[in-house]
């Protein structure tokens, strides 16, 4: 009897990439892709049994039919955006929308160009991605374009740099890939933003490798504002050397399903890491923040604060893990997740985790869930403040300690404006 073998979801999904042409890549990168393709053979998409993906089901994401769509430009209004920016549309570099004017010692260019002209890139590119995570490996094998920022020793980039991914069109698939490398004692601030413009049901799988060398100082503001039917998986793989400072604030404002994987590896002593996030969810949105901080060395500090405001029937997931190695004495690690539930129909799965093998550390973790304080709302209104303003005031107050973390003024204003706007319609 003849047996019909149905292609698996994975095989089906990987077919999306069949037509991609990477012949322009240099040999080095072609080989990297080849290695990654081999790795995929032994990996599978997560199921409900996969602990790491327990609360986020990917069925509807994986069963989608997507296409790549190269556009050189998009009518999206770029006014008021950072003066130094690399803009990508559907994962492809848009030269006309980009604007780069950086000084000596700063390399800020699209990945496609960097692969051709920047030999140094080979020392770091592809060194950090997790070889057992299928989405990271898939990005390694089939990534399109992205941004490369390399800052030389001692160099300070004064103005913030923007890496903007715009999704324009329906059922678009894209796999942007970025690399940020700050050499010793260098400093920079980066806005990593994805927006949906005229788009629906897209899938973005972004991977960013981040190297913060000795005594370097990096801040990333990650803003996710895709369309409300968009799916996004975004991973940052960070490596911090001794005495370095790294801060990342993640703001999720839209998207049907958003999964963030933030992995920070602390390789030297006296590092400082700040991770914070704010998610404002409506309708049936689902946002999942997974973070992992690995303390390997003594005398390091990590601070984590994620907050969520969940409305309608939305779902939030927070899983933050701090791992303190036996050698990592005098570690200070703090972790907290707070959620405000606006209706009775929202779901939040919050799981802060500490795994400690050293015996002289200060670590804490906590999770709180509450509702909007109706009494406070009435108090403000009774003083003459209108309902919408009073709501926005309270929600901003709830988010204040996350917003205060932002070291980029334009981002701070943008986040506050978003909160004002998002509850105007109530």
């Amino acid at each position: 009897m003849e047996q019909v073998i149905k292609p698996s979801i994975k095989e089906d999904f990987l077919r999306h990439f069949d037509f991609l042409d990477f012949s322009f890549d240099q040999e080095f990168y072609k080989n990297q892709r080849k290695e990654a393709k081999a790795l995929i053979q032994n990996l599978d998409f997560p199921t409900s049994k996969t602990e790491y993906w327990k609360y986020t089901r990917l069925n509807k994401v994986l069963k989608g039919k997507y296409s790549f769509k190269e556009l050189e430009s998009t009518p999206y209004d770029l006014q008021g955006l950072a003066q130094n920016r690399l803009v990508f549309v559907n994962g492809y570099f848009s030269e006309s929308l980009s604007k780069v004017n950086v000084g000596e010692g700063v390399y800020f260019a699209p990945l496609s160009q960097a692969k051709q002209e920047n030999k140094e890139l080979q020392n770091s590119f592809g060194k950090l991605y997790k070889q057992d995570e299928i989405f990271a490996v898939m990005n390694q094998a089939y990534h399109q374009d992205g941004a490369v920022l390399m800052v030389k020793k001692g160099k300070v980039v004064e103005e913030e740099l923007l890496i903007l991914n715009i999704i324009d069109g329906e059922n678009i698939i894209s796999q942007p890939r970025n690399l940020i490398h700050l050499s010793e004692n260098a400093q920079a601030k980066v806005i990593l933003k994805t927006i949906g413009y005229n788009s629906s049901a897209s899938f973005t799988n972004m991977l960013t490798e981040v190297f913060v060398d000795t005594s370097a100082n990096l801040e990333i503001a990650k803003i996710q504002e895709e369309s409300k039917t968009a799916y996004q998986i975004a991973t940052e793989q960070v490596k911090q050397e001794a005495n370095s400072f790294f801060k990342i604030n993640t703001f999720t404002f839209n998207g049907a399903l958003v999964r963030n994987n933030l992995n920070i590896d602390l390789l030297g002593q006296h590092t400082e890491s700040w991770l914070s996030g704010l998610y404002l969810l409506k309708e049936k949105q689902h946002v999942d923040n997974h973070t992992y901080v690995l303390h390997r060395e003594p005398n390091c500090e990590s601070n984590e604060l994620y907050k969520g405001i969940l409305d309608d029937q939305s779902t939030g997931v927070f899983n933050g893990k701090v791992f303190v190695h036996r050698e990592a004495q005098k570690t200070n690690a703090y972790q907290s997740n707070a959620n405000m539930l606006m209706t009775d129909d929202v779901t939040i799965n919050s799981k802060p985790e500490l795994e400690i093998y050293a015996d002289d550390v200060k670590c804490s973790h906590g999770s709180t869930t509450g509702q909007l304080d109706e009494e406070a709302l009435f108090y403000l209104r009774s003083r003459g403040i209108g309902y919408k303003t009073a709501m926005a005031t309270l929600l901003k107050a709830f988010s204040a300690d996350v917003i205060d973390q932002i070291g980029i003024e334009s981002v701070q204003l943008e986040v506050e404006e978003f909160i004002n706007k998002s509850f105007k319609g109530v």
Binding site: A376, S382, R383, G384, Y387, A390, F398
Partner: protein, 252 residues
């Protein structure tokens, strides 16, 4: 200024107010006294627009307008102010910033320009002195970490800033030591003019030594059962509330 006619209100189906009638004119101070559970706080909540309460009958007109039909913020704009019995702590919201936006929203409704920063600061300085509120408290988050006395002084400070036509002081004296009580009362008296009025709700006569009322009303079982001058308060202090219950024939 305000006229309450046959006001009935209930919470979760339980009637609390059973036909309140009260008229307050400009320049008057009215005290409402009564035992616990008589409906004093319900009355202030209904007037300020707290939505847990359902008004089942009656009407309230405020400068000729239907007060019960207005949102809490519109009542404030029309000149009504409630000093809360339990002022709310609002972490992360600055006391002065929130007052500034309150003043500006009210001004906007009246077609006035926003208050200038200079004018506002001058006002904060002046009015916080009135209730001896530390300048630092004015700048902190609303009521956060304030002592009980500081919270009540902050209420009067806000009242001074908003310059209402009608102030309702809901048990402002509860839990206050004598010094704080004097400061609060002094603030209220300083703010009194021929154009404004207050309703002072209290369980004890003590506050009325400092804020002298023109009328004293006794509230019992959701009704005003007796009205008199300031001497009525002294009588209540001396005899308690039992004689009222007997005299009015409302069974406990």
């Amino acid at each position: 200024m305000i006229e309450i006619k046959n006001l009935h209100a209930s919470i979760d189906g339980t009637p609390i107010l059973n036909g309140i009638n009260l008229k307050v004119n400009a320049g008057e101070v009215h005290a409402i006294m009564g035992p616990n559970g008589s409906g004093k706080s319900t009355l202030s909540s209904v007037l300020a627009g707290r939505d847990e309460y359902e008004v089942t009958a009656g009407e309230v007109s405020f400068f000729g307008e239907d007060l019960l039909d207005m949102e809490p913020e519109d009542r404030a704009a029309a000149g009504l102010f409630l000093a809360f019995q339990y002022p709310v702590e609002i972490p992360g919201v600055s006391n002065v910033n929130f007052l500034k936006s309150a003043i500006n929203e009210i001004r906007k409704k009246k077609g006035l320009d926003a208050i200038s920063a200079k004018e506002f600061l001058q006002m904060v300085k002046e009015k916080s002195k009135l209730v001896e509120l530390d300048g630092k408290l004015a700048n902190r988050s609303v009521n956060e970490g304030f002592s009980g006395g500081e919270k009540k002084r902050n209420e009067i400070f806000q009242m001074a800033m908003l310059e209402p036509k009608l102030s309702i002081l809901d048990e402002t004296d509860s839990g206050l030591d004598i010094d704080a009580l004097r400061i609060v009362a002094n603030g209220v008296n300083e703010l009194k003019t021929e154009e404004n009025a207050s309703i002072v709700i209290t369980h004890y006569q003590r506050l009325l030594d400092y804020i002298v009322p023109d009328f004293v009303h006794v509230l019992y079982k959701g009704k005003i059962v007796k009205t008199g001058g300031k001497e009525l308060a002294l009588e209540l202090e001396e005899k308690g509330y039992d004689w009222i219950k007997e005299e009015t024939g409302v069974s406990a």
